[in-house]
Amino acid sequence: MPVSFGFGAAPPPAKKGSLGSGDGQLVQPLIVSASGTLSPGEGGVNSEALRNNFGVPFAIDEIRWSLNPKSFVGGAVGCRLVLGGEELTNGAVPVWAFGPGKHLDQEEESAQANVYRWRTSRPIVVMPGEVVEPTFSVHDVVTNTNVTLRVTYFGRLVPGLTRQWLPFVTCYQSPFFDLTSASSAVSKEPDLRNKWGVDLEVERFVGRLAVFQKSGSVFAVEHDQSTNSGAGIVNDIGNVLMNVRMFEGRGAAVVRTKTPFRAVFSAITRSWEVPHVMPPGTYYTVYLDYLGTVGAVGAVSYAKVKADIGLVGWRRVA
């Protein structure tokens, strides 16, 4: 929520649908989409299908990723986005670390696919001939199967639109924690850093936990919704077992005491919506402490958990 007092925080993001220069000159809604089947490792899709070949600027308002089969949650597939040589992400960012999870029940679109959305607060303006090129990194933990993924850009063609902002999304991906062992991890400086020479207007942190099965038809889950066989373990991890502390680079506390993961990154949206400004070169350090005891539940069929902590912001480019 933007600050209403006019002090102390980043200016509010542009109103949804406000396109800056050229606003109001809606010509045509446009959806472009590309898909591919990838095995663990890195790969891409047919990005030519995503290119702006329409002769007028393309304002992207939403990016959507679908992962099939459903054994792939958003933490198992990372996406790197580049626009005309400009990095929109800091390497491959798990596809669930861009937007808040406003409708978790709808992320499981069907029995076959998981779907993740990033509704951008400002449009990503793609000039004629350009493309936001995605490349993917598929985790090798989910084995024995390939993932069919589709990336879709939703937006509008707007004559005369200019590019004033670009997003920047970076993510700390923790190592895998053994479910039954206490251990800890800490992020490194580049993970959650404003690497640009200008202020980064941060919108949110995203915090998600992927719990991976250890054998059989290998898959990952994120919550104990009834169709999953989580047996309560995922709730225990997020609400009790995985704790977070966070500091800014010079040591000032952001989260001073160990706090349950889902209390820091609200379980309700899997995010912490906190608009603020990160000056150039500043960064956050995250400490994760995993208690490693799963109590009465037992690690029924799961072996590992990974935390993804994303940071989503915008930098001015014009």
Binding site: N235, A252, R256, S266, T269, W272, H276, P279, V300
Partner: protein, 316 residues
């Protein structure tokens, strides 16, 4: 990093037996720099006192209650069930779980319920003041449900999601203070001291939140649930009677203006997807909202109706 707008998150927890009350101690996590802050949101993460079996179904939203004040300025009208502050946008199954264990696995597990109060406007907290939250674990259900052991301790984690402001920040003369008043129905008419503006300044209402608390134990299957949330927004609703959500209610202002001129089903007033009735209205000093139920409340039909807004207060 400049301190301006830097994220800050404070948390504390309380562990209570049934009927217990305790203020959440935020001292350990409070900013030692004592900067003024803006608080955007209070989060509640509560846990069942004991592991629960697969057949029990618990939403702990009505079971845990919070009373909040900022240096004597009340944010709540007494203890408010934690599900009564904000619209729901997720099902509890996806964020904490209703059942002790999922998918028929025989082991027991704790149940969590997670709620929040996203303030309509950020709350300015001066460096000299502290936002105090007192948590209460209700004993109201102990004689109804069989497996929430009232003697066993249970933990609630309370979190303030905030942003720091610079020390030289110019203190505003007035601030918007959030406020929530609640009525837990024990009769068919809300009393005069509920859902009322007790302040001398206008109270700007943003929304009403409505739940139907229902609790019982049938053949060993005990539950505390919201009868107004049904499938697909409550995937464990199958087998539960949702008929009471069709019970009529009426709401009107003390000025005589009818918010619902005709008797209206509960679930048409409070959207079952969000539990919310968005409303923009201003109550002057001592003005109130009257609610009339057309069916007597009971353990399986106990409406919880709250109104949430803010008022302006001078602090300089």
């Amino acid at each position: 990093m400049n301190a301006q707008g830097m994220p800050l998150l404070f948390s504390g927890s309380v562990t209570l037996s049934a009927g217990g009350t305790l203020a959440v101690d935020m001292k350990e996590s409070a900013s030692k720099s004592r900067l003024p802050v803006l608080i955007d949101e209070i989060r509640f993460l509560v846990r069942s006192p004991v592991p629960l079996n697969d057949t029990s179904k618990y939403d702990l939203g009505p079971y845990w209650r919070a009373e909040i004040d900022l240096a004597g300025r009340a944010l709540t009208d007494g203890y408010i069930p934690i599900w009564s502050f904000s619209p729901q946008i997720q099902t509890q199954e996806f964020i904490g779980g209703l059942k002790g264990s999922a998918n028929g696995v025989s082991t027991n597990a704790p149940v969590y319920s997670i709620y929040r109060w996203r303030f309509p406007r950020p709350l300015y907290v001066p460096s000299s003041a502290t936002l105090i939250t007192r948590m209460h674990r209700s004993a109201d259900y102990d004689s109804i449900v069989t497996d929430l052991d009232p003697t066993a301790s249970a933990t609630a984690v309370v979190t303030y999601a905030a942003r720091a402001l610079p020390a030289d920040f110019q203190v505003p003369k007035t601030i918007d203070v959030p406020y929530c008043s609640n009525w837990i129905a024990t009769s068919t008419l809300s009393p005069d001291n509920a859902l009322r503006n007790v302040f001398r300044t206008p109270l700007h209402i943003e929304r009403f939140i409505g739940h139907i608390s229902a609790s019982d134990t049938v053949a060993g299957d005990s539950s505390i649930r919201d009868e107004n949330r049904v499938a697909p927004h409550n995937q464990f609703a199958s087998g539960w009677s949702a008929a009471t959500r069709r019970n009529n209610i009426q709401m009107k202002l003390s000025s005589g203006f009818a918010i619902t001129p005709d008797p209206t089903p509960f679930y048409r007033v409070f959207d079952p997807q969000t539990s919310c009735f968005p409303a923009k209205l201003t109550l002057n000093h001592q003005e109130r909202v009257h609610v009339r139920l057309f069916d007597a409340p009971s353990n399986t039909y106990r409406p919880h109706i709250s109104m949430v807004g803010y008022r302006e207060e001078r602090i300089a």
